[in-house]
Amino acid sequence: MESQSSTRGGGAVTTPVPHMGVRSVTVEYPGVRALDAVTVDFHAGQIHAIVGENGAGKSTLMKVLSGAVAPNAGELLLNGQPTVLRGPRAAIRAGISMVHQELNLVPTLSVAENVLLGREPTLLAGIAVDRRRQQDRAREVLSMLGAELDLSCAVSELSIADSQYVEIAKCLASEAQVLILDEPTAALGEYEARKLLNLLRRLRDEGRAVIFISHHLDEVVDIADQISVLRDGRLVAQFTRNSAGVLQSADGTIANEDTLAHAMVGRELGSIYPVKGTARPGSDAAIELIEFGAVGRSSGISMTVRPGEIVGVAGLVGSGRTETAEAIVGLRRAAGEIRVAGRTHAFAHPRAAMRAGVAYVSEDRKGRGLHVSLSCIVNMTLPSLDAFSQLAGARLDDVKERSVTARWINELAIRCARPGLAISSLSGGNQQKFVLARWLETRPNVLIIDEPTRGVDVGAKAEIYRIIAALAQEGLACIVISSELPELIGIAHRVLVMRKGSVAGEVTREHLSQVGCDERIVRIASGLSADRQGTS
C-alpha cells in the first residue's frame, strides 16, 4: 500500500467549510424506508467513505446528493445554502458528478464519445462535434486514470472493468467539485483499484470533495478522511481522521475492518471464510478442459475440476477469464475439448450446458445477469423455468415460483420488500445475491461463478462463501473467477492464474495457506516469475 501520510492534504487539518451536506433526509419507497433522518456533511479536500450492509441506503443517499432522487423530507445544503436539485443535470451544473453503481453507458457509442457524452467539444459555432478535441480530451482523462483503452472502440466491446473506467472518466471529465462514486472499485481488480484510489487522493489534494462507497473495508480505512456508517437507513457511526492520522469515532473507537464491520451489521462477525472441505479423493473429473480456449481470447487451457473442489481463477483484468468461461457454456466460439463427467461436449448454447449440469453466473449483473425491468420472481425462476412448467409448459406453477423465491430471499437474507416488484428496486448487493440464487436453483453439478461477491457486504459475503462451501461438500464442482485475492485464497482449494489468455501458473493448496501467497499470485498474473528470488 501507498504510504498515506505523505499525500494527505491540508483539508483534514484546517477546518474546511462544509461543501455539501444533508439535514434529516428521509427517503421512502413502498414497504421500506431507505433513508431515515440522515444528517451528514461532506467537506472539500476530503475523502468521505460511506459503508453499510446491502440495502442500508448508501446508493439512495448518493442519489439524493446527485439530484436523482428527491427526498421525502429533509434538505440538501450546498455551501451552507438549502438547495433543491431538480434532476441530475441540475446537480452537474452545481458541480456535482456521480458514478452510479450500475453502468450507464451508451453501448453503441465509442469510448471517447461516452467519456464526453453531453459535453462534446464543438466546431463551427456548435453545429459539429470536434472529433479531434473529443479524442484528445478523452485520452487525457483516461490517462489520469492510467487506463489504456482504444478510444474508438465501442463500449459494448469492453469488459466490465474497462466500462467502469469509462464511467469514472465521464465523471472526471465534468471537472466537478464534488465527485460521488458508488462502488467504483467493485468491478476492478486489486491493482486497478489501487490506481483508482491514488487518483482519488490526488483529486482530494486538489481540493475537491470525494464521496465514495465501498464494501472493501481495507481500502476504506486506508484512504478515507471520514467514514459514515449506515444501517437500515440510519447513520449509526462516524469516524474522523484526527491530526495523528487515526480514524476515530466520537466515543474513541478506532476504525479498522473489524470495528467497521461491527458497526455495519450491529453484531460480531467471525471469520468470513468457512473451513475448506476436501475434494472427493479418487473421484472422476466433474469437468475437464483440454487445450481449451475462447477463439481469439484465450487458448491452450487444460484443467480438471473434481466434485467437491473449488478452483479459483485469478488474473488481471483482460486476462481472458470471463471469455473462457463464456466459451465453456456456449456463449462464445470455443476451441478445444470439454468433458463433463467423462463425456465430451460442445455446447452451442447455455441451455445445452445447463442440461449437462454446467451453469455460468455472469459478472455483468445489469446487462447479462438479470432482467432489471422484470420482477424478482421472474428473474429468480428464468434459468430453471422448466422445473416450474406444467402441462408441457402451458402453465407455470406460480405458487411454487413464489415459494422458491421466498425460500432464497430467506436463505440469503435478501432485502426485498415485494418480490413482485421489478428487481431494479433492489440494492446492488441484493441483486447480486439473486443472480447467484437463480443459478443455484438449477442445481448444477459444475458451477462457474464470475465475481461472486461483487458489491456484496461483508456479512453477506460470508454467507455466500458458506453456501458455496456447503454445496461443494455435497459434490458441486466450482470454478470461481475473482479479482479479489483474499476471496480466492480464502475459499479455493487451488488457484489457477491466467495471463494473456492462457494459464500462467497454479498455486496449490499448500501454497495458499502460506503467507505471501497473494504476492505470488500477483507476480504470476503480471508475468513475473512466481518466486521473488527468480527475478533478482
Binding site: 448454447h349 447455455p350 447479462r368 432482467h371 425491468s373 423455468l385 406460480d398 437463480r438
Partner: protein, 340 residues
C-alpha cells in the same frame, strides 16, 4: 421519481398509464351512445362492432406477442391475403376435382392456416437464421406475399365455389337465447367473434401464465440476458413469427368466408397498421418486454368505435386516418410514463 409532494398528479399519471385504455373505451362508448341514441346500445350494434373487427383483432392479438418479444411484423396484411388465396384456390380445385363439399372445405380451412404459418415461418427464418432485422424482413414479406396472391388470381377476385358450407362459416354463429335483432330473429354471435375471443384468451394465458410467454417477455426485455439465462432465444423468436403467420391464416379464413371470396388486391390491405395501432393503444410497449393482450382487445374496439363514430357523423373517410393517427399518438403519450 417517487415523491410525496407530487401525490395526486403522480397517482393520476400512474392510473392513466395502467387504465387509460379502459377510460378511453368508456368515454368513446358514452360518446357513441349519445350520438346514436338507443340504437348504439343495442346488442346488435355491439355484435356488429365485434364482427367487423374480428379479423384485425386476431392479427392484433398475434402482433401483441411479436411486439412483446421486441419484434414487429409488417407483413400480416399480406399474409392474410396470401393464406386466403391459397386456401380458397385449393378448396375450389378440390371441389372441381369432385371432392365432397365438407372435405373440400375442411381441406381449404386447414390449408389457409398452413399457408399463413408457412409465410410466418419464412419471416421467422429470415429474422432468426438470416439475422435480418424484423422490420426489414417483414417489410419484404409485405411486398412479396401480396404479390404472390395477386399472381395466383391474376390480380382478380377468387370466388369460393362452395355453395353453402364455406360462407356459413363466415356468416353463421351461435344464437344468443335472450337477444333478438331488429327484425325479431334470434341474435347470433358470429364464429369470427368467437374465434377472436378464443384466440385472445389463449394468447393472454400464454403471455402471462405459460413458459412461452415468460420467455417472450425475457427476450423482449433483454435478449442478451435471456440468452445467458438459457432461454432458447432463436427457437422462441422463430416460433412467435410462425405463430403470427398462423394467426394471419385464421384472420384470412374469417375474412374470406365472410365475403365468400378473396379480393387479392383489397383483402388485408393496410391491416398491419391497424393491428400495430391497436397493440400500442392497448398499452403494450413497442420496446418489448411488457405487453397485455386484453389491452389490445380494448384497443381494437376503440379503433372500431372511432371508425363508426366518424362514419356516422359523416366525416370523410379521407380524414379518418388523421383522427386515428392522433389517437395513437395520444395513447402513447398518456401511457409513456415509466415504461416507454
Amino acid at each position: 421519481m417517487s415523491n410525496s409532494h407530487t401525490g395526486l398528479a403522480v397517482r393520476m399519471q400512474r392510473f392513466l398509464e395502467h387504465w387509460g385504455v379502459v377510460v378511453a373505451f368508456v368515454l368513446l362508448f358514452a360518446v357513441s351512445a349519445l350520438k346514436q341514441g338507443g340504437d348504439f346500445l343495442s346488442m346488435e350494434n355491439f355484435r356488429n362492432l365485434l364482427n367487423q373487427n374480428a379479423a384485425v383483432g386476431i392479427l392484433a392479438v398475434g402482433m401483441t406477442l411479436v411486439i412483446v418479444s421486441a419484434g414487429i411484423d409488417l407483413s400480416v396484411g399480406s399474409m392474410v391475403v396470401l393464406a386466403a388465396a391459397v386456401g380458397t384456390t385449393a378448396m375450389n380445385g378440390l371441389i372441381g376435382a369432385g371432392w365432397s363439399e365438407p372435405s373440400a372445405v375442411i381441406s381449404g380451412v386447414v390449408l389457409t392456416i398452413l399457408a399463413g404459418t408457412a409465410a410466418g415461418s419464412l419471416n421467422g427464418a429470415l429474422i432468426v437464421f438470416g439475422r435480418i432485422a424484423p422490420f426489414i424482413a417483414t417489410l419484404g414479406g409485405l411486398a412479396a406475399f401480396r404479390s404472390i396472391a395477386l399472381a395466383i388470381a391474376e390480380a382478380g377476385e377468387i370466388r369460393s365455389q362452395s355453395p353453402t358450407m364455406f360462407s356459413a362459416l363466415g356468416r353463421g354463429g351461435i344464437p344468443l337465447p335472450f337477444a333478438e335483432n331488429s327484425a325479431g330473429k334470434a341474435l347470433t354471435i358470429s364464429w369470427s367473434t368467437v374465434i377472436f375471443f378464443a384466440v385472445a384468451i389463449a394468447a393472454q394465458w400464454f403471455l402471462s401464465r405459460a413458459r412461452f410467454g415468460r420467455q417472450l417477455v425475457a427476450i423482449g426485455a433483454n435478449e442478451t440476458a435471456a440468452r445467458y439465462a438459457g432461454v432458447p432465444v432463436a427457437w422462441i423468436r422463430f416460433r412467435v413469427y410462425a405463430l403470427m403467420g398462423a394467426f394471419a391464416g385464421i384472420a384470412g379464413l374469417v375474412q374470406s368466408s365472410r365475403m365468400n371470396s378473396v379480393s387479392t388486391s383489397q383483402l388485408g390491405l393496410g391491416s398491419e397498421l391497424d393491428a400495430i395501432a391497436a397493440v400500442v393503444i392497448g398499452g403494450t410497449s413497442l420496446r418489448g418486454g411488457f405487453g397485455r393482450v386484453w389491452g389490445t382487445v380494448v384497443g381494437v374496439l376503440i379503433l372500431g368505435m372511432i371508425t363508426n363514430i366518424l362514419t356516422i357523423s359523416g366525416v370523410s373517410p379521407y380524414w379518418q386516418g388523421a383522427v386515428k393517427g392522433t389517437v395513437i399518438v395520444l395513447a402513447v403519450l398518456v401511457q409513456r410514463g415509466s415504461r416507454a
